[in-house]
């Protein structure tokens, strides 16, 4: 047995293997100083940690922002929808209120007149822009016939000229085929109102000596047996005095804007009502009262 035959290489490796844990145990047991050899590693570690920490913060922040954005977006959409709903409700409410007021006025008018009135709704306009007619949703089925007056609370609209079973065509006073007996409310002089264009009519055959002024009210004359007497037709906007003509040519603007009319009344018996008496009566009664 060769005792001296000792493998030093193996022994060194074995020693190293054992000593390293021992050294580490020793280092654990002692207070670790910030030794010079640890500093570069510490620095590297800190740098890497700081880098990752910043990155993670950034990702978290971005994710949070994105998530917030999604939340904000959905919340915004929700609020937007709610706002739209409220706006719609508000519009509907004001529309209902307007309709209520309009219907109340119509009902009052219908209740306070001697005329038999049939309410109707405008469902169409004339196909050719040159003509001014409207179509209403009442026809011969509802007792309508040609030559009945069509009016609103504020003034005359036109008259029925082509009644059908379910609907009727109404010739507006602004149509160039329309002719309505009229009188100037102030002077009581008669004339004929003819349509001129969609916004104007002409009052003809009024004697040139008549005292007519811009702004005077023109009312229905009642001689045509279509309209009740004294119902507003339009207001004088222009007066033409031709030197060779015996009569005046007076432009009038209808009191009812036919483009905005939605609901109308059809008069079944126009002769039952006289609005001139209604307007005159209070004055005469007050005069007699003073006397």
């Amino acid at each position: 047995m060769n005792f001296l035959n000792f493998n030093f290489k193996k022994a060194f490796i074995l020693l190293l293997i054992i000593s390293l844990p021992l050294i580490s145990i020793n280092m654990e047991q002692k207070k670790v100083q910030n030794s010079w050899f640890t500093q570069p590693f510490s620095f590297m570690a800190q740098t890497v940690q700081n880098g990752f920490s910043s990155l993670s913060r950034g990702v978290r922040s971005t994710t949070a922002q994105y998530l917030n954005l999604i939340n904000i977006k959905s919340e915004n959409a929700h609020l937007h929808k709610e706002n739209s709903e409220l706006k719609t409700r508000l519009n509907q409410f004001s529309e209902n209120q307007n309709e209520l007021e309009r219907l109340r006025t119509l009902l009052d008018f219908q209740n306070n007149t001697k005329m038999e009135l049939i309410p109707g709704q405008v469902i169409g306009r004339d196909l050719v822009a040159d003509h001014n007619t409207i179509t209403i949703n009442k026809g011969t089925k509802h007792g309508l016939r040609a030559g009945q007056a069509v009016l609103t609370v504020s003034g005359a609209v036109g008259y029925i000229f082509k009644p059908q079973y379910f609907t009727s065509h109404v010739m507006l006073i602004t149509d160039r085929y329309s002719v309505v007996d009229a009188l100037i409310q102030k002077t009581r002089s008669h004339g004929i109102v003819e349509g001129k264009n969609s916004e104007t009519c002409v009052l003809q055959y009024v004697e040139r000596t008549e005292d007519v002024k811009i702004g005077d009210l023109i009312v229905t004359g009642g001689l045509d047996n279509i309209f009740p007497k004294g119902f507003p037709l339009g207001v004088v906007t222009n007066i033409e005095r031709k030197t060779k003509s015996a009569s005046l040519i007076i432009d009038i603007k209808p009191v009812v804007d036919s483009n905005k009319v939605e609901e109308v009344f059809i008069v079944k018996h126009a002769a039952l009502e006289n609005f001139l008496e209604k307007t005159v009566d209070p004055q005469t009664t007050s005069q007699t009262g003073q006397q």
Partner: protein
């Protein structure tokens, strides 16, 4: 009844139904939504389409029929409707082979031309044959012409499609020579 004849009747039926729908659209739909601008005259565009595409003899009578239908939606007298449409048809027929355009562009051009002819002839004929003639209303008529021109492209697509549905290529393209070949 042959297939060709059935298609022809169906075509007339659907075009007439479309004409009524277009008139209704103009009188009752558009004015309730848009009051600022006048409705484009789709019915007039349909008459232009018929004038340009269909056989002249049949087109004249069919346009008369449509002119009559037109008076159901308007106060326009029948004489005015027929004379104006006839004038428009004749002038469009005169021009249609002299313009080298095709498709939607051609139709838009003829809509512009036809609308101008329609409005001008309407004023002239109204002053000739009506007791109380129409006023000129230059800007109203100008806007109407522009609206027609703007909406002519979509209108053309619809008319073209409907015309094509009832167009049997095999029947119409079967000339005697082709038949012999077949």
């Amino acid at each position: 009844m042959s297939s060709l004849r059935a298609r022809f009747y169906l075509k007339i039926f659907f075009f007439t139904a479309l004409f009524f729908a277009l008139c209704g659209f103009q009188t009752s739909f558009w004015p309730n939504l848009i009051t600022l601008l006048p409705s484009p005259q789709f019915w007039l565009m349909m008459i232009f389409f018929i004038s340009l595409r269909w056989t002249p003899l049949f087109s004249v009578f069919y346009i008369y029929f449509l002119g009559f239908c037109l008076t159901r939606f308007s106060q326009i007298p029948l004489k005015m409707a027929w004379t104006t449409l006839l004038t428009t048809f004749c002038l469009l027929s005169l021009f249609k082979d002299r313009v080298r355009l095709s498709g939607a562009l051609s139709f838009s051009f003829f809509t512009l031309l036809g609308s101008i002819i329609f409005e001008v002839s309407y004023v002239i004929l109204s002053h000739s044959i009506e007791v109380n003639p129409t006023s000129f209303q230059f800007f109203d008529r100008l806007i109407q012409i522009i609206m027609n021109f703007i909406f002519s492209y979509p209108a053309y697509r619809v008319f073209e499609w409907l015309d094509h549905v009832f167009y049997d290529r095999q029947i119409w393209s079967a000339t005697p020579e082709q038949n012999e070949d077949l």
